[in-house]
């Protein structure tokens, strides 16, 4: 796995998200109120809504299209909805943010 720098924590508003373009498609990088950072493929498991546009509260994001609530840590939808989106590993070094991407296994994420 390669750790690729994508920017600084300050680039993302608290309780907000930014997107990163990658060979896996668009990735949403979230920052919680407590400055934790998570990354998910920017596609809601329901019908592909852009999760980066959702409202972030706690460790969850609410999809802007039909209000599914997705757990940022696991990518899973809150019950009773079922579905899961892919999680991308993130590392924080000081305020620098790095995404764990495996450039050679593009097929891992559909």
């Amino acid at each position: 796995m390669d750790w690729i720098e994508i920017g600084s924590l300050d680039d993302i508003p608290p309780r907000g998200a930014r997107t990163v373009e990658s060979h896996l498609g668009q990735i949403a990088v979230f920052r919680t109120a407590k400055d934790e950072v998570f990354a998910l493929i920017n596609k809601c498991p329901h019908s592909g809504g852009p999760l980066s546009e959702g409202i972030v509260s706690g460790r969850k994001v609410t999809c802007p299209l039909h209000n599914w609530v997705i757990d940022l840590g696991t990518g899973e939808a809150d019950g009773p909805d079922e579905g899961c989106t892919n999680v991308i590993p993130v590392r924080q070094e000081g305020r620098r943010l790095l995404l764990g991407l495996d450039a050679h296994r593009k097929a891992a994420v559909a």
């Binding site: 508003p13 608290p14 309780r15 852009p50 546009e53 609410t62 991407l101």
Partner: protein, 813 residues
């Protein structure tokens, strides 16, 4: 896999009855069987009942799936869709499917449903003739509707009426032919049937009652129908909905005992003890079935038997019917009319309100009910009927409903406590009172949404919503309608929170959460936008709007579309534009290759399909031509529609266009609990449709009629008349005061229509008309808050605010 000990269950028919039985079976004996399901349709199991709502455009096909494919996987069920079973070999104990699969069984369950009854009419095989049974039928009908064709529906029962209404909703001209003199004659008495026909005629359906179809006309496709009396009705689509017949072909061929349906005993077994049958394909004690309520009972019994219970026995429960046409309330159960002198009828009519109620009573017990126009007490009458309760004590009041029957001091509303546990509350999904109660208590549910999500009760046609709400209130002990918690983060309702913000001087979301004991640290997507609005409204100029608590549309000032692009609607004051503005819009559309330019229903122009990163540049160009955001995305002032008025129109009494522009200039930029729309019509012909707006003005010779609380949308509501005023200044004052009252009073996401229904028009009149000083204060507060609100959000973003919204952070890999 330890398949050795498991028995094999094969289910023929992947419909409502079959899968309900499998669900019940899994709940009782999850590992007893290896289950294989064959379905002739290419879909997973869906809610057939809701096809009517799909046709009417109220639901999407993917919303009516009951068991998605993942459900079969998770439960280890082998599913073959699009593959009908064509033969049963009872000696070898195998079934064979159309595609050639041969699957052995230990137990076989037939759940093949029924087939639409097709009359032997010439022309029946012409393209354009469909029935109303499955998804394929609905897709064919929607296609015809899109092509803008005309429809004839044959059959005036539940199905036919729902088909006709759905097609009408899809914009088709629809005629309905019914053999009998009144509609739904098996469920309604003559009087209710006549009212129904009157109401549906008003809604634009055409009826040919006592109409016998003789022939379907056309040579290579349908062109119409001819009735026995010689009348012809043109049509490009003919829907036949005259009834259903149990689908028994497979059972018959296997040599099972079949009459009208597949004969089953109280144990739901057929004449072969290893073969069960259930649903619309069966006949039990000479009776066949066409509604889900008895089928849910059968499913329970059948599942219990399959799970090894030797005692479970089926008996047909009393049945009730409802018609799923939004805005038409019909309920019927039991006898429609008195049968002999022992029976008596109690009838109530209110012609003005279009209400009709009839109860059939035998020996002080309710044995039948027909309700039209007001069905609130349907569940109660039905329960009295099922329990065979003696009603002598309140017989004289029973027709007025439960609230009156209980007498003064009695329980008003639904008496949930008295409702028996097995009362079926939601017919669409087969949910009983006890299912709901146990979900609420075991999972700690507090809101209607939760109950819906967990039990599916009221999640389909929604007609039982009141009952579900009443059960929720009863169990949680809260008057949930009033005090329902804002969300899972708090016990407090909207009213309490709004009051606390003002009275305790709470000035930030964090303070509110702290002071009111929120259960979560930073709220959720439900409470945050509400708190943000309440704070903004309470402390104008002081509270700093929290972008991260706004829904995406309000954050980026455009409407998100299903493909993640945005729409841009510039304000067009009072619907008036200029050549220069149109030129600027045209330039923007070309420059940014905007795929769709559309005139909206709000008298302005929508640019649809703008890429998010282009938004600031699009706005900059529009700003440069003097245009600002139309807030087409906002819980705030949307549009002020106007008609041409006295400036041009020969009927115009006042300058409606000019007044509309003044209203829009005064109110734009304001945030409100839900969206807020206005209109000004120049005379009572009302071309600007002011009577379905939140605030409408109708100009008359003597001045201006002010109307409030109107709403288009799913639940149409005409406005209430507030008052008449003489001058434009007064119009502005009342408009501002009304808006402020709404801003300060209503709950977030409550539009003026439901708000007025809740607080009452009298209250609004008291605050705005009777209390002149109060009105002026409200108006002043409105104008004060506007001094902070009227900043064009587009211009702010063009200048760089919230820039992070529009650029991606990085490109990698």
């Amino acid at each position: 896999m330890n398949a050795v000990s498991r028995q094999r269950l094969v289910v023929v028919g992947n419909g409502m009855a079959g899968m309900r039985t499998v669900e019940e079976l899994l709940a009782r004996a999850p590992v007893r069987y290896d289950i294989t399901v064959f379905g002739a349709e290419p879909h997973p199991n869906y809610n057939r009942i809701m096809l009517s709502s799909v046709l009417a455009g109220e639901k999407d096909l993917d919303e009516i799936v009951i068991n998605p494919r993942s459900w079969y996987d998770e439960n280890g069920i082998t599913l073959h869709t699009g593959d009908a079973v064509v033969a049963i070999d009872r000696t070898a104990k195998t079934v064979t499917s159309a595609s050639g699969r041969v699957v052995p069984y230990d137990k076989l369950l037939l759940a093949t449903g029924s087939n639409p009854l097709m009359p032997p009419l010439p022309g029946l095989d012409l393209p354009g003739v469909v029935s109303f049974r499955d998804i394929a039928d609905v897709e064919a009908m929607l296609k015809a509707a899109q092509a803008g064709q005309r429809a004839v529906v044959i059959g005036g029962g539940l199905l036919g009426l729902e088909a006709a209404w759905g097609l009408k909703r899809q914009g088709m001209p629809v005629a309905l032919v019914h053999l009998m003199p009144t509609l739904m004659e098996r469920q309604l008495d003559v009087e209710a049937g006549t009212l129904l026909q009157r109401d549906l005629t008003e809604r634009g359906l055409h009826f040919f009652t006592s109409g016998q179809t003789e022939q379907i006309l056309g040579t290579d496709k349908v062109e119409g129908i001819r009735l026995a009396d010689g009348r012809e009705v043109p049509a490009d689509l003919v829907v036949v909905a005259i009834g259903i017949r149990p689908n028994v072909a497979l059972a018959k061929q296997a040599g099972l005992d079949v009459n009208r349906g597949i004969r089953v005993g109280d144990d739901m077994a057929t004449s072969d003890g290893d073969i069960y049958a259930i649903g619309e394909c069966v006949e039990h004690n000479g009776q066949v079935f066409g509604l889900v309520a008895p089928i849910w009972e059968q499913a329970k019994v059948c599942a219990a038997r399959l799970a090894g219970d030797q005692k479970a026995a089926y008996a047909t429960p009393p049945l009730s019917t409802r018609l799923k046409i939004t805005g038409i309330d019909v309920f019927s159960a039991g006898l429609l009319t008195a049968e002999d002198e022992l029976d008596s009828e109690v009838v109530y009519r209110d012609a003005a309100k279009g209400i009709y109620k009839k109860l059939v009573i035998r020996e002080d017990k309710v044995v039948g009910a027909v309700l039209y126009g007001d069905v609130a007490d349907g569940a109660w009458y039905f329960d009295l009927m099922r329990q065979g309760k003696d009603i002598a004590a309140f017989r004289d009041r029973i027709i007025f409903g439960q609230a009156y029957a209980d007498g003064p001091g009695g329980n008003s509303g639904l008496d949930v406590a008295a409702m028996s546990d097995d009362t079926q509350v939601c017919g669409c999904n087969g949910v009983s009172k006890c299912d709901i109660v146990s979900a609420i208590t075991s999972k700690g549910l507090t809101s209607l949404d939760d109950v819906r999500a967990h039990t599916k009760a009221s999640a389909s046609c929604g007609q039982c919503t009141n009952v579900v709400q009443a059960i929720l209130s009863h169990v949680t002990g809260a008057d949930a309608a009033v005090a329902e918690a804002m969300c899972k983060c708090t016990e407090h309702g909207h009213a309490h929170v709004r009051k606390a913000i003002v009275e305790q001087g709470l000035k930030s979301q964090a303070e509110v959460r702290e002071a009111l004991g929120w259960k979560t640290e930073d709220g959720c997507a439900k409470c945050r936008p509400a708190l943000n609005y309440y704070l903004l409204c309470a402390w104008p100029g002081e509270y700093v709007d929290d972008q991260q608590s706004r829904f995406i549309n309000e954050r980026v000032h455009g409407n998100i579309q299903k493909d993640g692009t945005y729409s841009v609607v510039p304000r067009m004051w009072g619907g008036v534009t200029t050549a220069a503005e149109l030129r600027a819009i045209a330039d923007v559309a070309e420059k940014f290759q905007i795929p769709t330019v559309k005139v909206t229903g709000g008298q302005r122009i929508d640019l649809l399909g703008v890429k998010k990163e282009d938004l600031p540049a699009v706005w900059a160009d529009l700003n440069a031509a003097g245009m600002v955001s139309g807030h087409a995305y906002a819980k705030g002032l949307r549009t002020v529609k106007t008609c041409v008025g006295s400036e041009w129109c020969r009927f115009g009494t006042q300058d409606s266009t000019g007044l509309g522009i003044k209203l829009e200039r005064m109110t734009w930029g304001s945030w409100t609990p839900h969206k807020f729309k206005m209109a000004v019509s120049g005379c009572p012909r009302n071309c600007a449709e002011a009577t379905i707006k939140d605030f409408g003005v109708i100009c008359v010779d003597a001045g201006y009629d002010l109307v409030v609380g109107g709403n288009g949308g799913i639940h149409l509501r005409g406005t209430d008349h507030l008052c008449q005023v003489k001058t434009e200044e007064e119009v502005l004052e009342y408009a501002g005061a009304f808006m402020q009252l709404y801003r300060e009073d209503a709950w977030y996401l409550e539009r003026t229509a439901p708000w007025i229904e809740r607080v009452g028009l009298d209250y609004v009149k008291r605050r705005l008309i009777d209390d002149e000083a109060g009105r002026k204060d409200l108006y002043a507060r409105f104008l004060h808050s506007q001094t902070f609100a009227q900043n064009d959000p587009w211009a702010e973003r063009v200048q760089g605010s919230e820039a992070h919204e529009f650029k991606s952070l990085a490109m990698v890999g």
